[in-house]
């Protein structure tokens, strides 16, 4: 068995798996990565914005060559009430400079490119291959089965994404709950790059991110996103699964997306475009308490499979965590190979490495965000409240009240009490 034993088998060729494979192959280790899609990225969906800044300095010049779409130079947020909205647009010199801190991305292109670099480093990638189960012997993971074959490895790194079926098989975590997950649905809409530049006030290489919150999710946990790519727009919704399953919501997920597209804050931006893809994927709510156990005997977990994702309703971040947790999982395997010890204790260095990095630090820092946001007031009351206030401030239909009395009319004693006593404590956790 020793002869045909890999140093590491990696399940899943998303960003976490590819980062782990690149790092191990770069250090001359024998790596096999298994991916069920026709190519890496074929099954993967993101919003998408990747913060490249924290990844610089890792993976040689990968990020300089990667097929990134546009550098996000304009950050917009749109609060949506049934018949009104308020949009705030922000930019500054550092956002506008190129290279920028974050880029829109399309995963089918990005992951495919990354996979090529991984193969150049010497790792073997088997696409079109679904892993069927882990092989566990005497409490240790010693390999996997796929299509009737059994393959052995000193370590298995599970990078199988949000549903995390293999970490569950290994007993490292339980199934995901509706309360801790959301559904993301998205359309790619092709649009003339010139129109994108004009509509968003950006140059060829620059782009915009517009996030929506309020009525578009029927006032429940979640939000909408719009990212400009080079020649297309990524438009989608993220809807809390538990929140959206509740009674009182009549519309379906596809109907919610159609309604969103028709909103006057969205339609003029996508008009004339052509939908070319329709995708969906579960999104983690992501909080420290929901993390998987990160390692066991012969096994490590990285990326969404481990629970490294932050979903604050309107923004989702998971890609940087996937990349860096894959990287640290690879370092942990390298250390275990030096000691020739693949037990849980030897692999626990993975958690130590993560704890020193932004991956676990962010996860701890933001652990209460999702819980505090899981509160319909933030997704229904406030967007409407702000829009109603703007309505009165801008309305002229006779004698016009001064600004202060208008504010007083909206900020009644009851509203102030709720803001101070009900919501302020929650806001402090943001």
């Amino acid at each position: 068995m020793e002869d045909n034993q890999f140093d590491a088998i990696i399940i899943g060729g998303g960003l976490a798996g590819l980062a782990a494979a690149w790092t191990l192959a770069d250090r001359g280790k024998e790596v096999l990565l298994l991916e069920k899609g026709d190519y890496c990225g074929a099954k993967n969906v993101t919003g998408g914005r990747l913060y490249v800044e924290p990844l610089k300095g890792f993976f040689d010049d990968l990020w300089d060559k990667a097929p990134l779409e546009r550098s996000i130079a304009r950050e917009e947020i749109c609060l949506v009430a049934p018949t009104k909205s308020l949009t705030v647009s922000y930019t500054d010199d550092s956002l506008s400079s190129i290279p920028g801190q974050s880029y829109s991305v399309c995963r089918a292109k990005l992951d495919r490119f990354f996979a090529k670099q991984v193969e150049r480093k010497g790792a073997v990638i088997a696409t079109k291959t679904r892993v069927d189960s882990l092989v566990i012997e005497n409490g240790a993971v010693i390999g996997i089965t796929a299509g009737g074959d059994t393959l052995y490895a000193k370590t298995v790194i599970c990078c199988d994404g949000v549903l995390s079926l293999f970490p569950q098989q290994a007993g490292l975590r339980g199934p995901l709950k509706p309360k801790h997950s959301a559904i993301g649905v998205k359309e790619i809409i092709e649009l003339d790059p010139q129109l994108i530049n004009e509509r968003f006030g950006v140059s060829d290489e620059q782009g915009a991110a517009r996030l929506f919150m309020g009525d578009i999710t029927c006032g429940r946990f979640g939000g909408g996103f719009l990212y400009t790519n080079k020649e297309s727009i990524s438009l989608g919704l993220v809807l809390g699964i538990e929140a959206f399953s509740q009674e009182g919501i009549e519309i379906s997920v596809p109907e919610a997306l159609d309604r969103f597209k028709e909103r006057p804050e969205v339609l003029p931006l996508i008009a004339g475009g052509e939908p070319v893809e329709y995708s969906a994927h579960v999104v983690l709510e992501g909080s420290y308490n929901q993390l998987s156990k990160l390692y066991g005997n012969g096994i490590l977990v990285a990326g969404d499979a481990a629970g490294f994702s932050l979903n604050a309703g309107i923004t989702v971040r998971g890609m940087e965590y996937a990349v860096m947790s894959g990287y640290f999982a690879a370092l942990a395997v390298e250390k275990a190979l030096e000691k020739n010890d693949f037990g849980a204790e030897s692999l626990s260095v993975y958690e130590t490495l993560l704890a020193d990095s932004f991956v676990l630090k962010d996860s701890k820092e933001h652990q209460n965000v999702a819980a505090s946001l899981d509160h319909d007031r933030f997704f229904s009351f406030y967007p409407s409240f702000v829009c109603d206030l703007m309505h009165d401030l801008y309305k002229v239909n006779g004698p016009k009240k001064r600004i202060y009395p208008t504010l007083r009319k909206h900020l009644t004693a009851g509203v102030m009490k709720d803001i101070l006593f009900k919501d302020f404590g929650k806001v402090k956790k943001l």
């Binding site: 549903l163 997950s181 052509e274 939908p275 893809e277 329709y278």
Partner: protein
Amino acid sequence: MSDVLSLKGNVKSKLGLNVFKESSEFHIEIKTDKTNDKRLFACVRLCPAELYSADEQGCVVLSTDGCLECGTCLIICGDEVLSWNYPQGATGVQYRFG
């Protein structure tokens, strides 16, 4: 109206934009005695590909053609109600953008 809305209300046509590779197996199945489980009715509204529907007997039926492999139904129902797996390698949806 702009053509960007031309597929409104027509999930089948939206799915037609995607590349799917056929599979001989059903990768998701409703367990036999669970077809009227309450959780399945939530899938009727939440499945982004509209693959769940309620029949006249008050049971939920599923067709897996056009499944986006998103995992929402598994999270809603759990493995008490569904036997759920990803489709075999080289089958199912293959995103070109993602």
